[in-house]
């Protein structure tokens, strides 16, 4: 496709000029998007979730075999120490049976006490279990995409639970996908309390694996190994969900908590609607306000 003659002489600089113009235009577009994103324009979120909706089936297709391979590897490893594992599980089972009995007794006692004082029954909740299809641990975000969205009943502000404990909350939701902000994300601020003392605090994500406990009640001295659970304040999370344990109490770096959830192996998340209304900024007003009008 070699061209010669005077046409080339004009065409070449023209092409360079067009290239420069296109580059500058695109660069301006990128800056514009950053500004819009910073201003939290609603269309940015919608566009993000449209793309997520479109690629979720593809991601699911890639993620499935990877998870299967990992499971097979786990099974093979499990076979090697199946005896030791069996003994451990027997011991654990015995202990759990004991706990089951304790829980039953407490449940009965609790019901009786509630009836005595005519306590309001706690709202029931619904949940949907969804596969994690993308794990985005970029420099500035800690979030995962799950393969469930509006059509499955997932909504902004719903709680995302792993089998071990709280994982995060739904931050953005599309038709068939949703983005879950993990506890470790910069934008994650969870009202929590120390289980034993019931001292309140906020668990702040800072993009490291160990979120920080801030706004501790004065005089509160968390100890290493203290269990942290949600406090239910602010109305986003219900109280009492297991969050993690205190692993650092030094002056430098503050009090840090290791979440119970294993962020490296979340295959599924249970998205629970505790009916707390999901009071996220930008979220729709809680239903009870609508009813008042």
């Amino acid at each position: 496709m070699k061209r010669t003659g005077p046409m080339l002489k004009i065409a070449a600089p023209m092409r360079v000029l067009a290239q420069r113009a296109a580059f500058l235009g695109l660069l301006g577009g990128a800056v514009g998007l950053m500004v819009l994103g910073k201003a939290e324009a609603p269309f940015v979120e919608r566009a993000r979730m449209l793309v997520a909706d479109a690629v979720v089936p593809v991601l699911d297709g890639i993620a499935r075999p990877v998870q299967t391979a990992a499971q097979i590897a786990d099974n093979v490893r499990g076979l090697m120490d199946v005896n030791a594992e069996n003994a451990r599980l027997r011991a654990q089972n015995a202990m759990l049976l004991h706990w089951q009995q304790v829980a039953r007794n407490l449940e009965a006692e609790n019901r009786a006490l509630r009836e005595t004082v005519h306590a309001a029954t706690e709202a029931s909740f619904t949940y949907v279990t969804a596969r994690v299809v993308a794990d985005a641990g970029g420099a500035f975000v800690r979030s995962v995409l799950i393969a469930a969205g509006l059509r499955d009943g997932v909504a902004k502000g719903h709680t995302a639970m792993s089998p071990n404990g709280l994982a995060g909350r739904v931050g953005e939701v599309g038709e068939r996908s949703a983005r879950v902000l993990l506890l470790t994300d910069l934008n994650s601020h969870v009202p929590v309390m120390i289980e034993s003392t019931r001292d309140r605090a906020i668990l702040d994500g800072d993009n490291t694996d160990l979120p920080r406990l801030v706004f501790l009640a004065s005089g509160s001295r968390p100890q290493l190994g203290d269990r942290i659970v949600t406090s239910g304040h602010g109305g986003v999370f219900p109280p009492g969900l297991p969050v993690g344990v205190v692993v650092q109490t030094g002056e430098q770096g503050g009090v840090r908590v290791k979440p119970f959830v294993d962020f490296h192996r979340i295959d599924y998340l249970r998205v629970v609607d505790y009916g707390t209304g999901g009071t996220l900024p930008l979220a729709a007003p809680p239903p009870q306000i609508k009813r008042l009008r």
Binding site: L26, V51, V133, F140, L186
Partner: protein, 171 residues
């Protein structure tokens, strides 16, 4: 007639390979892997592919391609929208502008250039990310990710080079 049309389609598909591949590696970088810290430390496959294809086949990797790949990455990872597009666009442009430098050079020189580009891209990302998010990422994971990106570039070159020879030889 049909044969000609098919040949044309074949050519078009092959020429779309670099861009399609770039989108695919972005997808790969977010797939949950059973590797500890994979999501945090996954090297920037997008940067590798934009760099490789702009150096080797700039005709098949236009500026809008780099923009689109960056935007796709931003959308999937939830990073500040436009940041990845901005950075990859700068990378693409700087290579096109310095294209003569790369022509026929030894691999280690190209690799060194990639290292410089990767470090610069990281700095731009950090500066803009700080402006947008008001916080800097933890230093150690960010540095490890950068080091991995640079260290794995030869592997990416081997894979992309093989694909290029297989699909795009002679076009």
């Amino acid at each position: 007639m049909v044969v000609a049309a098919l040949a044309q389609l074949d050519r078009a598909l092959k020429r779309a390979l670099p861009l399609a591949l770039a989108f695919f590696v972005v997808l790969l970088s977010v797939v949950p892997m059973p590797v500890p810290e994979y999501a945090v430390l996954a090297p920037s496959f997008a940067l590798m592919s934009v760099f490789y294809w702009t150096v080797h086949r700039p005709d098949l990797f236009p500026a809008w391609g780099a923009f689109a790949v960056g935007l796709f990455d931003d959308m999937l990872t939830g990073a500040p929208l436009g940041l990845g597009a901005f950075v990859l666009l700068l990378v693409q442009f700087s290579i096109v502008a310095q294209h003569k430098v790369f022509r026929g050079k030894a691999f280690w020189l190209v690799w060194a250039a990639f290292a410089i580009v990767a470090v610069s891209a990281q700095i731009v990302t950090l500066v803009f990310g700080f402006a947008l998010k008001g916080a800097l990422p933890a230093a150690l994971p960010a540095a490890t990710q950068l080091a991995l990106t640079i260290a794995l570039y030869p592997v990416a070159t081997a894979v992309f080079g093989r694909l290029q020879r297989f699909f795009l030889a002679g076009s």
